[in-house]
Structure formats: structure tokens, C-alpha cells
């Protein structure tokens, strides 16, 4: 499984066994709540929950690079909001002649928390769910099998295409094509590469289309599935509690 486009981490934990649909729902509910109740306390609580889930799924360490990556976005939020938020009144600190304001910084903090929340919620989905299982669950729920195929095959076929590109590049380089150097050289090298790459992937796609056809891809029968997910009782509990959380937050919003 070295060559798939996915961040899935194989572990044997309770979190991995939860119905993929529930993880999708969790991500949606978390995002919804951060917008319905935009308070720091709620945000912090949700972050805590997500972190606990990630720890339970033994994938917390994989999240850190994702957060680091989003750090750039958060930094820009802090700078821009700290300097230019329209409600800025109370100065907090100065760097050289530039003044940061309290209102903007608080707002930036709130936004950043939302970013982290969304990131963590989706990280749970992405890191602990096999893409194929997720897609299969969606197909079982009524997603078109054709679209499901497009999603799941893209994860494997794109890396295969990349390796085709690599071998075409090697072939052209062995005939003396310069592919490294300054921009002009690279642009010139692009054209002799793109022809064979496009042609070979068109031919391959046609062949694969035929191979799929003869395996009853367009069959009108009702599709069956090899994997049988036994719904655990906890799946229902999780689904209900997510729903309750969402309803509660809406009620709170109305009351406050």
C-alpha cells in the first residue's frame, strides 16, 4: 500500500472501527457548532474532544505536521486581524512602529481556533478511515457507483500515472533531453514530455474502460458488496449523540 494517495494510518483501534459515515457526520457537526456557537470555550472544548479521539486512534502524531502547515495561515490571520480589524480600539503591543490591537487579536484567536477545529475533525476522518471503506459506505448510502469508482480509482491510478511520467522522463533524458536547469530549459523540456504522457494515458484509459466494461461495470443489477460492516451498537449511540449535540447548540444559540 505504498503507492496510494491517502493519509490513512493502519491501526487497530476502536476509532478505526467506527462507521465512516459517523466520522463524516462528526466533522460536519464540529464545523457547524463552531459557527453556531462562536465562543472560545466551545472551540476549546471541541478541540479537546478531537484531540482525545485522535489519541484514542493512536494517530495524534500524524496531525502535528498538518497543524504546522496551517500555522502559516493562522499567522497571517493574526497579523492582518491584529492590525486591521475594523473594531480595533485597545492597543496591546507594538513591534517597531506597528501597533497590534486587542479586539483584532481576540478575533484572530477565535478564527484560528476554528481552523484548528475543522482541521482536527477532518483529520480524524482522513487518518483513521480507509478511503475505500469511506467510498464504499457512501455508495451503500446511495452515491452512484460510477462516481464512487472515479474517487477510489483516482487514489491509486494517479500515483501510477506519476510513475509513468517518471519513466517517460527517463526515456527522453536518455536520448539527451535536458530536463534540469533554468526555467527556459525546463519549459522547453515540457513539450517533448507532454505528448507521450497524454497519449499513453489516453490509450491506457481506453484499455481500462474496456476491461471495466467486460467486468459488468454498466450492469443494471443491484450492486452487492464483499465487505459486510456489522453495525455495532456504539455506531447508533455516536450518531444519536452527534445529533443531540447539534440540536443543543442550536437551542443554546437561540437562548443566548
Amino acid at each position: 500500500m505504498t503507492k496510494t494517495l491517502s493519509l490513512y494510518v493502519e491501526r487497530n483501534t476502536f476509532i478505526h472501527r467506527i462507521d465512516p459515515i459517523n466520522k463524516v457526520l462528526y466533522a460536519c457537526v464540529v464545523v457547524a457548532i463552531t459557527f453556531i456557537l462562536p465562543y472560545e470555550l466551545v472551540g476549546a472544548l471541541l478541540i479537546l474532544v478531537s484531540i482525545l479521539v485522535l489519541l484514542a486512534g493512536k494517530v495524534f502524531r500524524k496531525v502535528i505536521p498538518l497543524i504546522e502547515f496551517s500555522f502559516i495561515i493562522m499567522l497571517s490571520i493574526v497579523i492582518i486581524q491584529g492590525l486591521f480589524h475594523p473594531g480595533n480600539r485597545i492597543p496591546v503591543f507594538h513591534i517597531a512602529r506597528i501597533t497590534f490591537y486587542k479586539e483584532g487579536l481576540l478575533y484572530a484567536f477565535n478564527l484560528s481556533m476554528r481552523v484548528v477545529n475543522i482541521l482536527l475533525a477532518f483529520a480524524i476522518l482522513v487518518l483513521t478511515t480507509k478511503p475505500s471503506e469511506l467510498i464504499e459506505a457512501l455508495v451503500k448510502k446511495g452515491l452512484s457507483p460510477r462516481f464512487g469508482y472515479v474517487l477510489s480509482s483516482a487514489l491509486q491510478i494517479i500515483p501510477e500515472m506519476i510513475s509513468t511520467v517518471d519513466s517517460i522522463m527517463d526515456a527522453q533524458r536518455s536520448r539527451g533531453l535536458e530536463t534540469e536547469g533554468n526555467i527556459a530549459v525546463r519549459i522547453r523540456a515540457f513539450f517533448p514530455l507532454i505528448g507521450p504522457v497524454v497519449m499513453s494515458s489516453l490509450i491506457e484509459t481506453r484499455e481500462r474502460a474496456m476491461a471495466l466494461e467486460v467486468r459488468a461495470f454498466n450492469s443494471k443489477e443491484k450492486k452487492t458488496f464483499l465487505s459486510e460492516r456489522l453495525a455495532i451498537r456504539s455506531d447508533m449511540v455516536i450518531r444519536v449523540s452527534l445529533f443531540v449535540m447539534l440540536v443543543l447548540s442550536i437551542i443554546l444559540k437561540v437562548l443566548l
Binding site: 475505500s132 491506457e204 481500462r208 474496456m210 466494461e213 461495470f217 454498466n218 464483499l226 459486510e228
Partner: protein, 284 residues
């Protein structure tokens, strides 16, 4: 029972001026193993694809004549319906992997899921084909990590799991190394033993002579002859059709060693050996 009936099949690809198939007729019995030989562009692949319905349903184009597979008219059925009766394996093992499944075991299920086969039956069929094609060891591997020969065997397994009764192999070994090719030939032999009707296009004539019941010689969109390997490979004008006889036949031809009963040259190593021993005994 007749498994395949083809009557005066003519076909022209879209955008092309010439007929790719120029009035082909033949019949195949259940359990037969037919080899197809002929030079490039003789229409071998087109014929294969006409049997499974890719011609005309996938390519469109002009079509006349009748192809009947296990009692189903190819023209009036769609490819998915036909896939229950007849399967095809192509040259390139790589493009026959769906890419939607992560293990060899799951890959086999692709067609079965589409056909709506019950889960229990699915498991039974998968175990059967993985055993038949000697792929059990690799069942948890990613299909893309297999060798060419293994991948091609997986492609065959995925088709056989659909229980088609007839399998068409269009140059299944042309992109494989000798070892991979040998694996595939062994697999094809075991299919034949299971009573599956096989149509195989192949350039390795020694293999064709060894395994097949009858050989179809094609040229220029038509059938030149359809007969036993001995008869086809004993033809004097074989080279005119771009086909070379097996090395054993050529050797015996140059020594003029014939089977006295049939008046034909041998086509396989076994036959050639027997005749040569007789020939030597007669001389001494």
C-alpha cells in the same frame, strides 16, 4: 453443444474505409480450445472483441452478420449481460487492474459486486479462482505490486470468477517475460482442464500447437482455415500468411518426416519425438 456460432460477420471500424472483418463464419463446441494465429492487422483482436460485444457496442461502427454466444445474440445484448457468458483478457496486464481495490482478493470481487452476486457465493468463487490460478499467497497484496505474470493471472482470475463458461485471451503473454508467460500458459491449461471453452490469440506457435484442439489461421479480415494444429502448421503457404510453423514441424519438414496415417507433419515436441524414433528405427 455449440458455444459460439458466428455467421458471415462483417465489421468496419468508425472512421475507417476498409472492413476489419470480411465475412467470418465458424462454430465452437463446448470445452474446445481454439488458437488463433495470423499476422498483425489480420483481424484477430477485432474478432475477439466481437465475441464479447466490445465490437460493436464499445466501438460502434458498421456491423452485419450474426454472432451467438451461449445462445445470446451479441448484437441484441449489452456487454454486461454478455460478461456472464463470455470473458476476455487483454494484452496489457496493467490496464486490466481496476485501481479501485486495494488487495488482490478485493480486486477479484469487482465484477462480482457489479453483477450483484450474493456475498457467500462471492467468497466461494474468490477462493476457487485464487486457488485455480495459484494466487492464494498474494491475496493481501496490492494488485499494482504484482509482477506482470501474476497481474495477468489476476486478470484471468477476475474474469473466471464471473463464471463465463467461455474465455477469450487476446495475446495474454505478449507483454510478459518468459517466466510470466509460462505462468499464464500453465493457468490457461488448468482452465481448459476445468472444461472452460477457450479462444486464445497467441504468437508463440509452439504453445498453440501444444495446447489447442483446433487452430484458426486468419489473414486480411478473413479465416483462411480452421483445423487441427497438425493440418494448419503443415500448410505449404503458411509463411505467406505471416505465420511460422512450430520449430518441431519445421525440423521434421526439412527431414521429410511425416505421420504416415495422416500425411501431416507433427506439431508438438511429443509427436515429433515419436515420429523421429520410428524414423530412426526404420532406417536401421
Amino acid at each position: 453443444m455449440k458455444k459460439i456460432i458466428v455467421e458471415n460477420l462483417k465489421y468496419r471500424y468508425p472512421l475507417s474505409e476498409d472492413l476489419a472483418l470480411k465475412g467470418i463464419s465458424f462454430e465452437v463446441e463446448e470445452g474446445e480450445f481454439i488458437g488463433i494465429v495470423g499476422r498483425n492487422l489480420a483481424g484477430k483482436s477485432t474478432l475477439c472483441q466481437a465475441l464479447v460485444g466490445l465490437v460493436p457496442h464499445f466501438y460502434k461502427g458498421a456491423y452485419s452478420g450474426k454472432v451467438e454466444v451461449s445462445g445470446m445474440s451479441v448484437l441484441n445484448s449489452n456487454i454486461s449481460e454478455l460478461s456472464r457468458k463470455i470473458g476476455i483478457v487483454f494484452q496489457n496486464p496493467f490496464t486490466q487492474i481496476t485501481g479501485a481495490k486495494l488487495t488482490v482478493y478485493e480486486e477479484v470481487t469487482f465484477g462480482l459486486e457489479n453483477m450483484g452476486i450474493e456475498r457467500k457465493e462471492m467468497v466461494k468463487r474468490i477462493e476457487y479462482v485464487l486457488h485455480l490460478l495459484d494466487l492464494e499467497k498474494y491475496k493481501d497484496r496490492n494488485p499494482f505490486e504484482l509482477s506482470g505474470g501474476q497481474m495477468q493471472r489476476l486478470a484471468i482470475a477476475s474474469i473466471i470468477a464471473m463464471k463465463p463458461g467461455i474465455i477469450v485471451l487476446d495475446e495474454p503473454t505478449s507483454q510478459l517475460d518468459p517466466q510470466g508467460a509460462e505462468e499464464v500458459f500453465k493457468a490457461v491449461q488448468s482452465l481448459s482442464r476445468e472444461g472452460i471453452t477457450i479462444i486464445m490469440v497467441e504468437h508463440k506457435v509452439e504453445k498453440i500447437a501444444q495446447y489447442t484442439d483446433r487452430v484458426m489461421l486468419m489473414s486480411d479480415g478473413g479465416i483462411v482455415d480452421l483445423s487441427t494444429p497438425q493440418k494448419i502448421f503443415s500448410k505449404d503457404d503458411l509463411l505467406d500468411y505471416g505465420v511460422q510453423a512450430p520449430v518441431f514441424t519445421r525440423l521434421c519438414k526439412s527431414l521429410n518426416i511425416k505421420n504416415k496415417d495422416t500425411g501431416l507433419y507433427p506439431a508438438t515436441l511429443g509427436e515429433a519425438y515419436e515420429l523421429m524414433v520410428k524414423y530412426e528405427q526404420n532406417r536401421s
